[in-house]
């Protein structure tokens, strides 16, 4: 490629100062940000105790563990694991349903078109946010203290953390509903109940059903781990087998989780498409 003559270059420079002569602050912004990001990263590595020796030793151990995991083998406890898997699926289904049922009425209070007053809406929203800010595992820990070890605590933990998420999503779905249909019902002489039943519900219900299904799917994943703190399900078995270093059983359990999650994914995506049509669920 031939170079541009010098006169043309100066002309271009004069015409597009925002490209050629950017202020120093704008030019420095990206490298400074990158440098800061790298500095924090390096500080983190040092502070959190990373060292090549530890890394190498750990990798060696990890390789050894992976060797021990093959082939996956449940030993004689396959029925126990299947029961635990059933428990996990039950926890996910019940927890999500409970959360959906409980959060629907409360989410009405957080919807702009139902409660126009900001004073009421704001605390309800922050309440949902606070519940969502706490991880499911923490809720499981709290509920174990209240109702004791076992899958019931898991159900309540999933229900609690989803309560926050559903509250936000449902209220957004209700806010997104079209007013025209409600007004149409009113114009034809329907009362307030009719408005909700025939105007609002048909719009909101498919969205909500899709979200609930999606959460059942993602809660199957959450339900596999809440057993780690003692709230029942397959996570309990998994944590136990890792602690006693039964690696073949561990790999079998992980495999079971993968298969179960894939199966639930498949079923729920089929159902979702059946309910809402071929549209993406937010």
């Amino acid at each position: 490629m031939s170079k541009l003559p010098a006169a043309q270059t100066t002309e271009l420079r004069a015409r597009y100062p925002q490209v050629f002569d950017r202020p120093v602050s704008a030019r420095l912004a990206t490298p400074v940000m990158l440098l800061a990001a790298i500095a924090i990263f390096v500080f983190g590595l040092v502070h959190l105790g990373f060292s090549p020796a530890r890394m190498l030793g750990g990798m060696h151990q990890l390789g050894w563990i992976s060797m021990m995991m093959l082939p996956p083998d449940p030993g004689s406890s396959l029925p126990l694991y299947l029961k635990a898997l059933g428990e996990t699926l039950s926890i996910a289904l019940l927890g999500t349903t409970l959360a959906a049922v409980l959060s629907l009425p409360v989410s009405l209070l957080a919807a702009k078109n139902i409660v126009p007053s900001n004073i009421f809406r704001f605390p309800v929203r922050r309440f949902f946010d606070a519940i969502r800010g706490v991880d499911t595992l923490i809720w499981a820990l709290v509920w174990i203290n209240v109702v004791g070890l076992g899958p019931f605590a898991g159900v309540l933990a999933i229900a609690t953390s989803d309560f926050g998420a559903f509250g936000k999503l449902f209220s957004e779905a209700i806010e997104g509903a079209d007013r025209k249909q409600v007004e149409g019902i009113r114009a034809s002489g329907g009362n307030a109940l009719h408005e909700i039943r025939f105007g609002l519900l048909p719009q909101v219900l498919p969205v909500i059903a899709g979200q609930v299904l999606y959460f059942i799917e993602s809660n199957t994943r959450s339900a596999t781990i809440i057993g780690i703190v003692g709230a029942g399900g397959i996570g309990l078995q998994l944590a136990e087998q890792i602690r006693v270093l039964e690696w073949q059983k561990v790999s079998f359990l992980i495999l079971m989780i993968l298969v179960a999650v894939a199966a639930i994914d498949w079923i729920s995506s089929k159902l979702r498409f059946a309910i809402i049509g071929r549209r993406a669920v937010a």
């Binding site: 990001a37 924090i40 990263f41 500080f43 983190g44 590595l45 502070h47 959190l48 105790g49 990373f50 530890r54 890394m55 030793g57 750990g58 990798m59 151990q61 990890l62 563990i65 059933g86 428990e87 699926l89 039950s90 926890i91 289904l93 019940l94 946010d129 606070a130 800010g133 706490v134 991880d135 595992l137 923490i138 820990l141 709290v142 509920w143 203290n145 209240v146 109702v147 076992g150 899958p151 019931f152 898991g154 159900v155 309540l156 994943r221 959450s222 596999t224 781990i225 780690i228 703190v229 029942g232 998994l238 944590a239 890792i242 270093l245 992980i254 989780i257 993968l258 999650v261 894939a262």
Partner: protein, 294 residues
Amino acid sequence: MAVAVPILPSQQLAALNDAYRKAVAKKRLRLTLGMAVFFAALVAASIGAEVNLRTLFTYFGHFVSYFDRILTLEDGTRVWTNVGEWLWGWRKWSLLLGETILISYVGTLFGALLAFALNFLAAENTSPAPWLRFVIKRLLEFCRTVPGIVFALIFVIAFGLGPMAGVLAIALHSIGALAKQYAEMVENIDMKPVEGVRSTGASWLSCMRFAVLPQVAAGFASYTLLRFEINVREASVMGFVGAGGIGTELVMAVRKFYYSDVSAILLMIVLTVFAIDIGTGWVRERLLGKDRRA
């Protein structure tokens, strides 16, 4: 002004009503069947999860009284009457929360770097070979599906107790999640710049650098920030299995029944998560501009 509503002759009306009823009956039957299956599944699940309503009602009282207890100081007063006493360990907890954020930061960055390297191989339009794409996609699926805390449990044994296991667990899970989002984004790019760069005889690497990257960089950054936000939450529980951060302290407080400490630590976690949410939201807005905000 009176408006005459035309009413169809009764024969025609009867036929229409009939058809309407049939259509509705079919829909209702399907709905009823679906509900029946759903309730059957619920009943089966409640048996599987050892739930019964009576225990729920007894326990609900426990739940309320538990919150009552964690909001009470040892001398019997409410926590907010003596904030200094309630948050007595705020120095220690802040340090641990800082460690939690650091775990999440380093883990996310590790994950993002590897996901960045892998996503071009996993995206349909940029992958150099189908078999490579298949292998990498399965690998990413594995990283994504196995929960981070399970990785942490295993890494704690391999790398020893401490935040290092937490960082690696978060990194591994983030690789799976981020590479999928990255790859989806790459699959949606405009291919014309790629063709333009390739037509100049550029290598695969130059194509990625000069045609693909400029289109996706802002989106990548946005997804990475979102993942960082999620990982802060995740890192707050890594301590449950001994992988560093505030979780260790929380689990200790819960297990040893230091009631007011539980609420204090929970409050600090929630505030931190809020702060991180707002901070990353602000950065993402600046990065993408208001109109493209997801």
